[in-house]
C-alpha cells in the first residue's frame, strides 16, 4: 500500500517534469483561472468596502422644534439607539449647527451677511441618524412617525433625501447581483477552459493508459500519477498566481489610493492572505484533480 503510494507519487512527479511544454501550458492556463477567481474575490472585497463607504455617507436628520430642551432630545436619542436598524445617532445642538455652518461657509460673504441680518441662531437642534443599510431609513422614519415624541419633531429630512437613498440602495444591490452573476458565468467559462486543457494533455497519454491496462495495472495505479500531476500543477499555478497577486496589489496600491483613498490593496492582500491561499489552493488543486479524474476515466475502458 505504502509502496504503491510512493510509486504513484514518483510516477506523477516524473510525468510532470518530463513533459515541460505541456506542463508549462497547463500550469499557465490553471494560473489564469486561479487569478481570475482571485480577482473576483478581491473585487468583491473592494466593492464591499466602497458600498459601505457610500452607505456611510447616507444619513438622515431629525430636526426638533425651537423650544425643545436638550434633555428631551437626548431621551429621544437613547430611544432611537434601542432600535436594531439604527447604527449610530449623533446629537447636534443649535450652537453646533451654527458653528458648522459658519465653518463651512466662512468664505461666502453673502451667506455670512444674511446670517448677521437674521440676528439670532436660525438653526434647529437635530439628531443625525445612521442606519446599517440604505433600505432601513424608511423603517426608522416610520418609527419616528408612530412614536410618542412625534410632536417634538419639526421635520425629518428623509423625504427630501429619499430619492438619493433609494438610488444608493438600488446601485449597491445592483452591483452585488451583477458581481455574483458575472462571477458565476465567468468562473464557469474559466473552469471549462482549464478542464479542456487538462483533457487535451491527458489525451496525449490515451494509448499509454490502455497499454497500462493491458499489462495488468489496476485503475488506481494508472489514475494515481495523473492525479498527482494535477495536484502538482495546481500547486505551482497557485504559487505563481499568489506572486502575481502580491505584485499587483503592491504595485497598484498607491494608484488605487488616489482614486479611492479608503482602499489599500496591499493591506487587503495582507489581511486576507490565508483566505487567498486557501481559495487559490482549493481552486488549483480541485481543478487539477477533478479534471484529471474525468479525463482519465475515458481511457480506462479497455
Amino acid at each position: 500500500m505504502f509502496t504503491s503510494l510512493k510509486r504513484i507519487i514518483r510516477a506523477g512527479w516524473t510525468g510532470f517534469y518530463r513533459n515541460p511544454g505541456l506542463t508549462v501550458a497547463t500550469v499557465f492556463i490553471m494560473a489564469t483561472v486561479i487569478f481570475f477567481i482571485t480577482t473576483l474575490f478581491l473585487f468583491n472585497l473592494v466593492s464591499g468596502i466602497l458600498i459601505s463607504n457610500i452607505q456611510e455617507k447616507v444619513d438622515m436628520s431629525v430636526y426638533f422644534k425651537e423650544d425643545i430642551l436638550s434633555e428631551d432630545i437626548l431621551a429621544v436619542k437613547s430611544e432611537l439607539k434601542g432600535i436594531p436598524e439604527v447604527k449610530d445617532v449623533e446629537y447636534v445642538s443649535k450652537e453646533q449647527a451654527l458653528e458648522k455652518f459658519i465653518e463651512q461657509h466662512k468664505n461666502e460673504p453673502v451667506l455670512m451677511e444674511s446670517l448677521t441680518e437674521v440676528g439670532k441662531n436660525p438653526f434647529l437642534a437635530s439628531l443625525n441618524i445612521r442606519a446599517w443599510q440604505a433600505s432601513q431609513y424608511e423603517q426608522v422614519t416610520n418609527f419616528l412617525a408612530d412614536s410618542s415624541f412625534n410632536n417634538l419633531i419639526e421635520k425629518v429630512d428623509y423625504y427630501q433625501r429619499k430619492p438619493i437613498i433609494d438610488k444608493v440602495f438600488l446601485i449597491t444591490s445592483g452591483v452585488n447581483k451583477a458581481g455574483i452573476f458575472s462571477g458565476i458565468v465567468l468562473g464557469m467559462i474559466a473552469i471549462l477552459i482549464a478542464f479542456n486543457t487538462i483533457r487535451i494533455a491527458i489525451y496525449n497519454s490515451s494509448e499509454e493508459i490502455s497499454t497500462m491496462r493491458l499489462v495488468g495495472a489496476s485503475n488506481w495505479f494508472i489514475r494515481g500519477p495523473f492525479l498527482i500531476q494535477g495536484i502538482i500543477a495546481g500547486f505551482f499555478a497557485t504559487l505563481f498566481t499568489l506572486l502575481i497577486t502580491f505584485a499587483l496589489c503592491y504595485g497598484f496600491d498607491s494608484k488605487i489610493s488616489v482614486i479611492a483613498p479608503q482602499i489599500s490593496t496591499f493591506a487587503l492582500f495582507i489581511s486576507n492572505f490565508w483566505i487567498l491561499v486557501l481559495i487559490q489552493l482549493t481552486a488549483g488543486i480541485g481543478l487539477g484533480v477533478i479534471s484529471s479524474l474525468i479525463a482519465v476515466r475515458k481511457y480506462l475502458k479497455v
Binding site: T3, S4, N19, E208, L214, V215, G216
Partner: protein, 231 residues
C-alpha cells in the same frame, strides 16, 4: 488452462457495410506448460485472437475460459488480475513512450507489487538477456525497431507470467536475434510457462517441432501436434 469455445469475431465495416469476419467458429484448448504456435497469413485472425484472450475486445459469439473462469464474466475492474498472469509481446510493441526501457520493465513489476530490491535485481538481468543493457535509459522512440521488439519481449517475461502471448515476436528481427528470441521462449517454456506464439515465419515453425494451429480466413484449418507450416 485456456480454452476457446466456438469463438466468432465480426467487425462492422464502416466503408461499404459488409462486416469483416476476423474469426469464425474457432475452438481449441491449450494445456498448461504447452508450447503452441498459431500460424497463418497476415489477416488470418492471429492478433484478434490475442486481443480476445486478453479481454481487450469481446467475441461476437462463443466463450473463452482461462482455467475455469469465463473471461467475459470478469468485471472491468478485476481484469487487471487476469492480465497480470499473462505476459504479452505486442506486435506493435506498446511500450510506454514516456518511460525509459528500464522503467517500462520496472512498471510491470511495480504493477505486480514487487519490492524495490526485486526490481533493481531483475530488470538489469532481463535487459542483459535480451541484449538491451546499453539501452536501459533510452526512451522507446530512441530505440530501433528490433530493439523495441526485444524490449517488449523483455517486458512480457520479466514478471514470470503463467502464459506468454507472443504476437510476431521476430517480425522485426534479424536472423541472429530471431534465433535468440525463440531460444529464449523455449527456455521459458521448459521452465514451466505456457507459450502461445503467433507467427508467419515458416522456417522457424518447421524447426520447432511443436503443436501448430493453422488459421486461414478466421477458421482453424489444421491443429497438429508436431505440426509444420503448411498453407
Amino acid at each position: 488452462m485456456l480454452s476457446l469455445h466456438k469463438i466468432s469475431k465480426i467487425y462492422p465495416s464502416h466503408a461499404d457495410g459488409s462486416p469483416i469476419v476476423a474469426l469464425d467458429n474457432v475452438s481449441f484448448e491449450i494445456n498448461k506448460k504447452e508450447f503452441v504456435s498459431i500460424v497463418g497469413k497476415s489477416g488470418a485472425g492471429k492478433t484478434t485472437l490475442f486481443k480476445l484472450i486478453l479481454a481487450e475486445e469481446e467475441p461476437t459469439k462463443g466463450e473463452i475460459f482461462f482455467e475455469d473462469q469465463d473471461i467475459q464474466e470478469i468485471k472491468k475492474s478485476q481484469l487487471s488480475i487476469l492480465r497480470r498472469r499473462i505476459g504479452t509481446v505486442f506486435q506493435d510493441y506498446k511500450l510506454l513512450p514516456s518511460k525509459t526501457t528500464y522503467e517500462n520493465l520496472a512498471y510491470v513489476m511495480e504493477v505486480m507489487g514487487a519490492t524495490d530490491d526485486e526490481i533493481s535485481r531483475d530488470v538489469p538481468q532481463v535487459l542483459e538477456l535480451v541484449g538491451l543493457r546499453d539501452r536501459a535509459y533510452n526512451f522507446p522512440e530512441e530505440l530501433s525497431g528490433g530493439e523495441r521488439q526485444r524490449a517488449t519481449i523483455a517486458r512480457a517475461l520479466i514478471h514470470r507470467p503463467e502464459v506468454i502471448l507472443a504476437d510476431e515476436p521476430t517480425g522485426n528481427l534479424d536472423p541472429y536475434h530471431s534465433l535468440n528470441v525463440i531460444q529464449l521462449l523455449i527456455k521459458i517454456y521448459e521452465l514451466g510457462t505456457t507459450v502461445i506464439l503467433a507467427t508467419h515465419d515458416k522456417e522457424l515453425i518447421n524447426r520447432l517441432g511443436k503443436r501448430v494451429i493453422t488459421l486461414d480466413n478466421g477458421k482453424v484449418i489444421r491443429d497438429e501436434e508436431r505440426g509444420r507450416f503448411i498453407l
